[in-house]
């Protein structure tokens, strides 16, 4: 191939196609061939069918005005549909008809104008093509010199360079003045709460009954059959006046009963379960989605957001996915009436990791 024949001497910027740039402009690594083809100039103009055939021209004209009239029809249709297809209360079907007929009317109104205008431009307007001359983007020498002079005059008259103490004190003031505005943004969060404190505790405490989500009915240990799983909230959560969702976002728990032989329990946590019933935080330790999918026969939990998988039989250790830490376990017991209760709060913060967690 011949592509390397021209390497070697960098030819001067004689490239005619870049003549707008003065020869001093660097061409860099560009390889300018002395023997290149020249631009042949504009090809002869080719008329369109509508230029030559009056019949076709008339047809194009008919098409264009028909499209515009169709657009009017579409607008009228949309207005009529607004009235003809009211939304009957409690009827989802009526919503669908209202949406569709107003929408189709608007579509016709818009597309009629759009296609009409484009067709007009392409088929009927004279297909003039102009060639505008480009000019160098940067200002010319006179303009630049003028700009420099403006700044010099301004500098001399103001003493911006000469009076350096004034200038520097101004710069200092300009740097400092936005700081109060930044401080105001501290108001985005309450003044009397500390995030690490809040993240470290949930609503669970010694004796809180485990209740069904969302009804709030307490759960009896006897009702939890082997293989079942319950979505759990602390009893009393639904009665909270304030902060119900904030508490729920931390306190949501999954309760599962496994065959006790399947449970591979840590020695110092054997008292945290009851008869194969175990309770784990439902909040993923990755970024906090609810780990809601329980596969009974493998006793794995799957987070539907980023597919972290936890093994319930093994203290919810991570077996796949981006999460690192096991789901925190809630120590449970049974009270006198046979209801499941928490022995304490979680022994570690639940949910996603945060900087101060250790």
């Amino acid at each position: 191939m011949a592509q390397d024949d021209h390497s070697g001497a960098e030819l001067a910027a004689a490239d005619s196609s870049h003549a707008a740039n003065v020869p001093a402009v660097k061409t860099g690594t560009a390889l300018i061939q002395a023997d290149a083809f020249e631009n042949p100039g504009f090809p002869p103009h080719r008329p369109r069918v509508t230029d030559e055939d009056p019949k076709k021209e008339r047809r194009a004209q008919r098409t264009v005005y028909t499209l515009f009239y169709l657009s009017i029809l579409g607008s009228v249709w949309a207005i009529a549909a607004y009235m003809l297809f009211p939304i009957e209360s409690n009827d989802v079907g009526a919503v669908r008809l209202n949406n569709m007929f107003i929408g189709l009317g608007a579509t016709l109104a818009l597309l009629g104008i759009g296609f009409g205008a484009v067709h007009w431009a392409k088929a009927l307007m004279e297909d003039v093509e102009l060639a505008d001359e480009r000019h160098k983007i940067g200002g010319n020498e006179v303009a630049r010199a003028g700009a420099v002079k403006v700044f010099q005059d301004a500098d001399r008259e103001s003493g911006f360079t000469r009076r350096s103490v004034i200038r520097n004190s101004l710069i200092g003031a300009l740097v400092v003045f936005p700081l109060p505005a930044i401080v105001l943004f501290r108001g985005w969060a309450p003044q009397d709460e500390h995030p690490v404190e809040l993240l470290s505790h949930t609503m669970w405490q010694k004796g809180t009954r485990l209740a069904l989500d969302p009804s709030g009915a307490p759960i009896k240990a006897a009702d939890v059959t082997i293989g079942s799983a319950f979505h759990v909230i602390p009893e009393g959560l639904n009665d909270l006046e304030h902060g119900r969702l904030e508490q729920k976002a931390k306190a949501a728990v999954l309760l599962m009963r496994l065959n006790p032989e399947d449970l591979n329990e840590n020695v110092n946590r054997t008292s945290w379960s009851y008869n194969g019933i175990v309770a784990y935080s439902k909040i993923c330790t990755h970024v906090g989605c609810p780990v809601a999918l329980y596969e009974q026969h493998t006793h794995h939990l799957l987070c539907p957001c980023h597919q972290s998988q936890f093994d319930v039989a093994d203290h919810c250790k991570v077996i796949f996915g981006p999460a690192k830490r096991p789901l925190p376990q809630l120590p449970i017991a049974v009270d006198d009436e046979g209801y499941l209760i928490a022995q304490s709060d979680f022994t570690e913060p639940v949910g996603p990791s945060f900087w101060e967690r250790h």
């Binding site: 104008i113 297909d127 900087w355």
Partner: protein, 535 residues
Amino acid sequence: MSTATPTAPQRRSATAAASNYIDERTSLSVFVKELGRKAFPDHWSFLLGEVALFSFVVVLITGTFLTFFFQASMAEVEYDGSYVPLKGVEMSVAMASTLDISFDIRGGLFVRQMHHWGALLFVAAIGLHMLRVFFTGAFRKPRELNWVIGFTMFILAMGEGFTGYSLPDDLLSGNGLRIIDGMIKGIPLIGTWTSFLLFGGEFPGTAIVGRLYSLHILLLPALLVALVAVHLLFVVVHKHTHYAAPGRTQQNAVGPPILPIYAAKAGGFFFIVFGVLALIASMFTINPIWNYGPYDPSPVSAGTQPDWYIGFADGALRLIPPGWEFVWLDRTWSFNILVPLIALGLFILLVVSYPFIEAFVTGDKREHHIADRPRNAPTRTAIGAAGVTFYAGLWAAASSDILATHFRLTMEGVIHALQAVVLIGPFIAYFIAKRVCLALQKKDREIVLHGYESGRIVKLPGGEFIEVHQPLDEYDRWKLVSYETNQPLMLRPNDRGKITVAQKIRAGMSRWFFEDRIAPVTKGELEASHHSSQH
């Protein structure tokens, strides 16, 4: 008779009078004269930016309508609207008002759907427009700054999308916010407090929807409108690029005049974009929040997906292998969150700085107004293909669970395969794209030198069959030969007799960029090939 004085009374039409009235107060005629007949180069690929602009306008129009009905409050109410299955359910005012827009206001659902579809199209069109600009080298001098502005708008558009997506306070968007909250908390040093400030206390709090609303309808749109204005101003200042064709040079801009043809085409195209969005909105449901219900931190449905443009970030989170989190110095280092954040940060940094990198490598200080055919810049095209593959791998990962269930694959298998796509795929794509570009350039040379296959088979007197090759006319030929190649930089000592480190880097990079190259056919070569074929 011909000496009509300026004071001579003349009958003037109402239009002329009105024009005169306005011009005498605005000097508008200067603008019309200056801009009205500007040539605007025409090509289908230039429409991508217009789609972005026009869908933004549609989103502004529909969004304004929605603000008259939406209430950005997280106060709890009992829903009492037309949608029966949710009657009596506790939800935020934001969710309830979104349901009212959908079920109690005629045409409300239509406008809401057009707004959401328009937003998806807006981000998609910006992405495609950026790819067009990248692959044709339209970011080169003098347009580097406009690339940066366009890139900024891409980021802002994604921000607009995400803030808007979160406003209805439904189950799906609430889970999206929870993921954002979890990611923020994983940032060292500032994460916990940043989350606390953003949500006004503990997640979810009662502040976030109102705050996102301020961003969504005030701050971000204002920035976008301002940047759109600057972006278009630059298009006027630079004049649009055009593709190489006979008569088009670096010194001219060739195309139909703004008035009337371009105005009619672009104006019509606005209505087409608007109309297509209206058609989609009237026929296809999007974001049916009534199926998801109000936000509750406990339930979640399987197979949830973010809007498409957030997919690459969500996918990046999914691809991290287990165990990338450590406690060190009594603090938690969540590399399972930091690595995606840093990787995506580096990726977009590379995207925004590419024009400057290429300018550094070539050292070319000229203005470039002719857009490249992608094949004529093989290394750039290959880099683009690698970037697209990287993005596509991350994006696909956001649907890893859906891929697994639809194609009956294991979740782990899909994740491992996509990890390979993201890490190895870019190199394969780079290699293939570069070879394809070089092969296409060779084919162009072949056609210029020996003509194109005419399909006419001739039997020679000796019994041999040949296909007649038809030479190109000079206009077709120009499209195939009018490009420049670059050669690797030759390292030379500077004035002080030194070879600087920057020069060495530049030489190494230019070798990488330009070592493999196919030069365009020259006049001499064509002549030589004609000679040889005659003998």
